[in-house]
Symmetry: C2
Subunit: 271 residues, 2 copies
């Protein structure tokens, strides 16, 4: 199974947690982990290789400087924000499919069913964070990003990519142009660009299974009329996404999945 991660040095510990949980919850599965990262040392990379021992290989990806010659880099933007959007350009041409995962994700069930999802001619599969406010935020976001064709505003933390299709349709110049033209209104640059340019070419998947917003336990429970309780989540959800500013590796974090995440933090430290 091909996995893509992009990160800087600060996110290395959560990345180790994400990968530990991925291995633990996909017994018998082997992984090729493609890593596009800035500022990682040789020691960081050796540590990741040790973590993957017997279960997969680490494939660091070189980023050609010239690819970014024309990229706008505004205020808080870094090159790293473009990496997942340019996966088709950066990954080996022999690769057809890859699953991108944010480092603030905890895997708690097998991801194979997502990985094998038919993309029905779309470029990617992704999830919308549904909720009580979904009916309001989606039209607002569509208006803001001037993309009326897209059915929803997709979260960019989990992206199943058809790399062959993306090589044909995704053009770096389009991405950089879009970033330049919308610089004023991009709140979450990578996610906004993804939705603004490619929202209509994304297949929606169930966020309660494949991109569960860990802040929103009560909301999922309510929307499902009580079905999606903790037993359901632990039995069905594969990808718990710790979205937002409060991160579960901070001391002060108090969410319902706090003990679970912090336990995996220890399991990762032991590997």
């Amino acid at each position: 199974m091909n996995i893509l991660v992009t990160l800087d040095h600060n996110y290395l510990p959560p990345l180790r947690v994400m990968l530990t949980s991925l291995l633990t919850n996909s017994p018998g599965e082997r992984f090729a982990v493609y890593l596009i990262g800035d500022g990682l040392t040789a020691e960081d990379l050796r540590g990741l290789e040790t973590l993957l021992t017997n279960r997969g290989c680490l494939c660091p990806v070189e980023v050609p400087e010239d690819l970014f010659a024309d990229a706008p880099v505004a205020r808080y933007w870094t090159r790293a924000m473009y990496y997942r959007l340019l996966a088709a350009q950066l990954l080996p041409k022999t690769l057809d499919r890859v699953l991108y995962l944010d480092p603030d994700i905890l895997v708690i069930n097998p991801v194979r069913p997502l990985y094998d999802t038919g993309l029905e001619g779309n470029l990617m599969a992704a999830a919308t964070h549904t909720g009580l406010l979904a009916g309001i935020t989606d039209p607002v976001n569509r208006l803001r990003l001037e993309n009326y064709e897209a059915e929803a505003y997709y979260n960019s933390g989990v992206l199943l990519m058809d790399l062959a299709a993306m090589r044909r349709e995704v053009c770096p110049a389009d991405i950089f142009d879009y970033a330049r033209e919308h610089a004023d209104i991009l709140l979450l640059p990578d996610q906004d660009i993804l939705n603004g340019l490619y929202g209509a070419r994304i297949l929606g998947v169930d966020d309660s299974l494949w991109n569960y917003d860990a802040r929103r336990f009560d909301r999922y429970l309510l929307l499902s009329q009580g079905e999606k309780d903790m037993d359901w989540v632990m039995g069905h959800t594969a990808l718990l996404h710790f979205c937002g500013k409060r991160k579960p590796w901070n001391h002060s974090y108090q969410g319902r999945f706090s003990a679970l995440y912090k336990h995996y933090w220890r399991l990762a430290a032991r590997r």
Copy 2:
């Protein structure tokens, strides 16, 4: 490492969770699991052997009928309540040390430091569930059980046993006599007998490490003046004990360790 578990068929699923968590959190360690259980089928035992594959062996223990010829069996009491107290009589004579663990325990860090604890001439090591009320309940329990020598009221869910010393000092007739004489006031029979007869011969160990009462997160945090937060617990506590009537495998359970326990429930189901 020798582990002792005693149970009836109803507690088989939690036992599988306890053992899964024990293996997961003691990498490289091998276990001999001695099982004294009533009503387990051949299939139950095969399932436990599969769970232990490559990490240890299952050793079912025969209970001789004549040992219980003189045992009082009152209202809700079963023979099973005596098993842990009679470990020295029931386990092979070649065994010197064993760690008894309740099936409603989740292991989240290595137990080796507890297992290697010097017993300083005592029969066992066990923990008291300290708390804001400890100063009240311990004298009350000592009075109730007429044992003024014991320093505390020990929880019987985690017991590190010196079997050689117990073979010399623990006498089944004493236990049955004590049960008969105190039948009216025994609230938790096995635990009350343990404390009443052998409380003064038990070495106390830190409950926040070796028998953490999972209902009492806020109390541990308060008593430690904020030190024992969730990071501390996940980094230090080895044995989380889900004491009391509300069990984490029930749908309605809502404790802080709910997600963690229910995730291990799934990991156990996969083994």
